[in-house]
Amino acid sequence: MNSTYRYGICDLVLISNIALPELTPASDGDVECQFELLDAGLPSSDGVEWFHQWRIEERGVTADGARLEDPLLQFGRCSGDYVLRFPSYGEFTITRNTKNIRCRPLPDTAEMTVRHLLLDQVMPLILSRREHIVLHASAVLTRYGAIAFAGKSGKGKSTLAVSFALEGFPLLSDDCLVLRPGHEGWTALPSYPGVRLRPSTVQAILPRDLRTMDVASEAVKRRIADTKVLPQINEPVLLRRLYLLTEDAGSTTIEKVSSGRSMISLVEFAYNLDITDSDFLRQQFNTVNQVAREVPIYAIHFPRQYSTLQAVREAILQHLHEDDNIDIAR
């Protein structure tokens, strides 16, 4: 592979044979992962053992013309490698040690779409094999430390995080949050700059002249990576709270979640490349148990109206302030 590009993502150095402008160039550190975009072609299922799939409805995504029951992503194994097939776009092959990633796109798949799938779908799954836990969550930095928002797609994770960022609270992650254990608690790692928002959200809460970019050729969402408007933090920080975003509600309320429910929720929002790996499941079971015990987890109910975002932010900050001495003392 003629790798000419070198980047950082979630504390990992990735080299690639195509430019990945969404990522920050990395000048030092050992290469831990390499990506190669192959020529377009049609995938073959010869020798592939399929063991899992995400359906579109499970991920809360509606692609143009796709039925909700269609698989968004199929997980398989072939000759010891993992195979991740996006039926509408192409196939990624990942070596068992997760160091090598190859993508064979379908003939009509744009390179931008490959980049989106690599960064927002494949890399979180790869990181799930390398890190203690990777959550489908956004996160921002407050004066109390990092706070994260986990929830199903479409529940407002990115919107809430962007709402904080617009007020000067730096973004850590849009929807892939890596957590590592440390002496003082669980540390949240920055993922990569930028967020993805629906056009209606862009129009409602962002400055009118802000530059947005396509996420992928058919994607509805827009990508925003202007760090002057949405500041980013590039250092790991202690995670103080995790908020679970619940269904739309008439008013904003925050309630403590029991340790048991916290554990189930962490599993629900954790990425997992291989759900058939018993050793990994046991390790993840121990990890979510530890996180559930050590990170205060709350459910937040709030109205899904742009006009109430400020009140929701204030409620969260007030909640952090009021319980600071009780809940974050370790």
Binding site: M263, I264, F285, N289
Partner: protein
């Protein structure tokens, strides 16, 4: 309980995980006590006798609750019941 089921007690609650299927299941205080007793006696009837002394509930209601829970756990491969 099958060997492939891992359990963790968190306060009054217990979380079960089937390591073969990846299925997670949460139990409240009553369910936790039921599983705890099953791990020692392996008999639903024995668990029922002990829990009848510990919880304010009629024998009929407790029996129905435990059987329903056992059935649900069996369906999720978190419990194997030997009907003999």
């Amino acid at each position: 309980m099958p060997d492939e089921v891992a359990t963790r007690k968190l306060g009054d609650e217990t979380i079960l995980l089937n390591l073969k299927t990846g299925t997670y299941f949460g139990l409240d205080a009553v369910g936790s006590r039921f599983v705890e007793l099953l791990e020692t006696s392996s008999e639903i009837a024995a668990a029922h006798r002990v829990m009848l002394q510990e919880f304010e509930v009629t024998a009929e209601v407790l029996e129905a609750d435990l059987l329903r829970l056992a059935e649900e756990m069996c369906a999720k491969r978190l419990l194997v019941v030997d009907t003999n």
